[in-house]
């Protein structure tokens, strides 16, 4: 039973392929196989996105002591489904809304930008191991592929902001690019420790290196925990989530680079943003939280892909929780955090990972590596708090 469930998606794919092989010519089979691998990604993650939009609003509502959306259910009936029909209503609304393109806009680039946002976000999923034997594209340089594809998003954000011919859109795009470039550095550097320890860039092999219970996960080691924490912060910034949502800071620059987008194109931006967030969470799970491995060996009766999605759900909830708690940063604070705090600390975690690798296992190693990270963290945070611009603000007239 477990075995059947475990490999159910893979067996299903092979069964379909077997049937297809009787009808299709030989050269079409690899393409059919690729399509069969991609289709689940194209169905599952947008579905998670749709559910997340509702869950996010409900959780944010609860954090603010109100129920959140709880009305839309099945149309023409009184069944409300606790508001989980909302995303269908939103989708229909986005589809039938008028698509407004500014008169001065660069029509071609304006049209291409939302597509160019969604495609890299979807491509990033192809290297994520969703379950045992379930990596759509098992590349030798999978992590590099992920970052390469992720960096292509910056250009599409620029396309959206520039082509709108709107000062808010351009400002938002500039902010977004500056933020993404700045946080890409700590994001990549925080993963270097894991890559060093496993000696591979392949996501599948990185997951395999963390088998056998949660104490084998990279996040369970001192350097891994620190790297995971830094990765989380950088991932939040890369995905433009609060508290790093300056590119779309609605109280300052309306909606940032998608100010001039409406209807379905806006929905595509929304989708791209969330898909980016899920992909980033998926990479975090793969690199630090054991991928599809169960936290305890006894729990391996539950299929691997369920573990992956459970962990993804935890990540999503965490990001929503973060959004409900933290206010937005200021632009200079954002840059200071990236360059003065994140980059030095990620470099330190890489050194710490090296020390961990070459010391004998034991209490001393644990203590040394922890000290290597905690001491600079305390020093840096202390220095930053007293520094101008980052630290606590003093108000001349308030208080």
């Amino acid at each position: 039973m477990t075995e059947l469930l475990e490999q159910f998606p893979v067996t299903l794919k092979h069964a379909i392929l077997d049937v297809l092989s009787k009808f299709l010519p030989e050269w079409l089979l690899p393409i059919a196989s690729a399509i069969l691998s991609i289709t689940p990604i194209l169905i599952v993650f947008p579905t998670i996105f749709a559910l997340t939009t509702v869950v996010e609003r409900k959780v944010l509502g609860r954090i603010q002591n109100r129920p959140g959306p709880n009305r839309v259910g099945i149309p023409l009936t009184n069944i409300r489904l606790a508001g989980f029909g909302q995303f269908i209503a939103d989708g229909i609304k986005a589809l039938i809304k008028e698509d407004i393109v500014p008169r001065n806009a660069d029509k071609v680039v304006h049209f291409l930008a939302p597509i160019a946002v969604v495609i890299p976000a979807l491509l990033a999923y192809s290297v994520l191991p969703i379950g045992k034997n379930m990596t759509a594209l098992d590349l030798d340089a999978g992590v590099l592929f992920f970052f390469a594809v992720g960096s292509a998003t910056e250009l599409s954000v620029f396309m959206a902001g520039w082509s709108s011919r709107n000062k808010y859109a351009l400002l938002g795009a500039m902010r977004a690019i500056a933020q993404m470039v700045s946080y890409e550095l700590p994001l990549v550097l925080s993963t270097v420790g894991v890559i060093m320890m496993t000696g591979t860039l392949s996501t599948t092999q990185i997951v395999e290196a963390q088998a056998g219970g949660f104490w084998h996960w990279h996040a369970a080691t001192p350097w891994g925990f620190a790297a995971f924490f830094l990765f989380l912060v950088a991932a939040t910034a890369e995905a433009n989530r609060t508290p790093f949502d300056l590119p779309e800071a609605e109280s300052e620059i309306i909606a940032g680079y998608f100010t001039e987008y409406s209807g379905f194109k806006f929905a595509l931006f929304f989708l791209g943003e969330y898909l980016g967030l899920f992909a980033m969470s998926g990479l975090g799970i793969t690199l630090f939280l054991g991928g599809w491995h169960a936290p305890l060996p006894a729990l391996e009766v539950v299929p691997s892909w369920i573990w992956f999605f459970l962990k993804l759900g935890v990540f999503i909830m965490f990001f929503i929780w973060l959004r409900g708690t933290l206010p937005r940063l200021r632009m200079d604070q954002l840059m200071n955090l990236a360059w003065k705090f994140m980059v030095p600390l990620t470099l330190i975690t890489i050194v710490a990972a090296g020390v961990w690798r070459f010391m004998d296992p034991g209490f001393t190693r644990c203590l040394t590596v922890t000290a290597m990270i905690v001491v600079p963290y305390l020093l840096l945070s202390n220095a930053l708090f007293t520094a101008r611009g980052v630290g606590k603000r003093t108000y001349r007239y308030a208080d």
Partner: protein
């Protein structure tokens, strides 16, 4: 230390999140169409015209003085004076509005019309469910739509309405007393005149003015 404040905030929001499921008192909103919050007494939306008694036209307090029309900042009031007169609650013949329109899509709820009205004739309503399919005609209220009874006024702003009713009752008593005094004086004068003329004749009873029913204290 960097990060402690964030942790504190996260704990707080987590408390709110969990607490909102446990205790309903935490919930600050109500499920609107089914549940409603009690409106505060000083709630105000858009103006209406107060009338006394049961007949909107007969009891209309407005005398079409057009002060509110002149004072209205967005100029959303339009008044046409009547040709004839009808008696007010004191029995004095007054004009009444032949036409009284308020475009509440223009009205900004400033309450200046209420402040300037010397006759307590225009007051602020608490009705807020005014959505309509017709953007222009549907939000242009005429005299008959605007006229609402004093009982309604007493219901939505009880304290204020009670004060005004007391004041008006007072005015009325004074006016009646004055009318009586006048009548007596007149009678005396007549008697005196009669005595002077020495032609004894019964004094004419002072005719009470046709006045509307006294305001019901709801």
């Amino acid at each position: 230390m960097l990060g402690t404040g964030i942790l504190k905030g996260m704990v707080e929001t987590a408390k709110n999140f969990a607490g909102s499921y446990v205790s309903d008192e935490r919930l600050t909103t109500v499920q609107y169409p089914e549940e409603r919050q009690k409106l505060a007494e000083n709630t105000r939306q858009f103006p209406f015209l107060v009338f006394d008694g049961n007949d909107p036209l007969a009891g209309m307090r407005c005398v079409a003085c057009q002060i509110c029309e002149k004072e209205c900042p967005p100029q959303c009031i339009y008044i046409e004076k009547s040709k004839d007169k009808k008696p007010d609650h004191l029995g004095k013949p007054q004009f009444y509005p032949a036409r009284f329109d308020i475009d509440i899509s223009v009205c900004m709820s400033c309450q200046i019309c209420v402040e300037v009205c010397p006759f307590e004739a225009i007051k602020m309503d608490t009705e807020f469910e005014l959505s309509t399919g017709d953007r222009f005609g549907g939000l242009l209220f005429n005299r008959d739509q605007l006229a609402k009874s004093n009982a309604h006024y007493n219901k939505i702003h009880p304290t204020e309405a009670a004060e005004i009713d007391a004041k008006r009752a007072d005015e009325k008593i004074k006016a009646e007393a004055k009318a009586k005094a006048d009548a007596e004086a007149k009678a005396k004068a007549a008697e005196a005149a009669k005595a002077a003329a020495n032609t004894p004749k019964p004094a004419p009873a002072p005719q009470p003015p046709a006045k509307p029913a006294p305001p019901s204290a709801a």
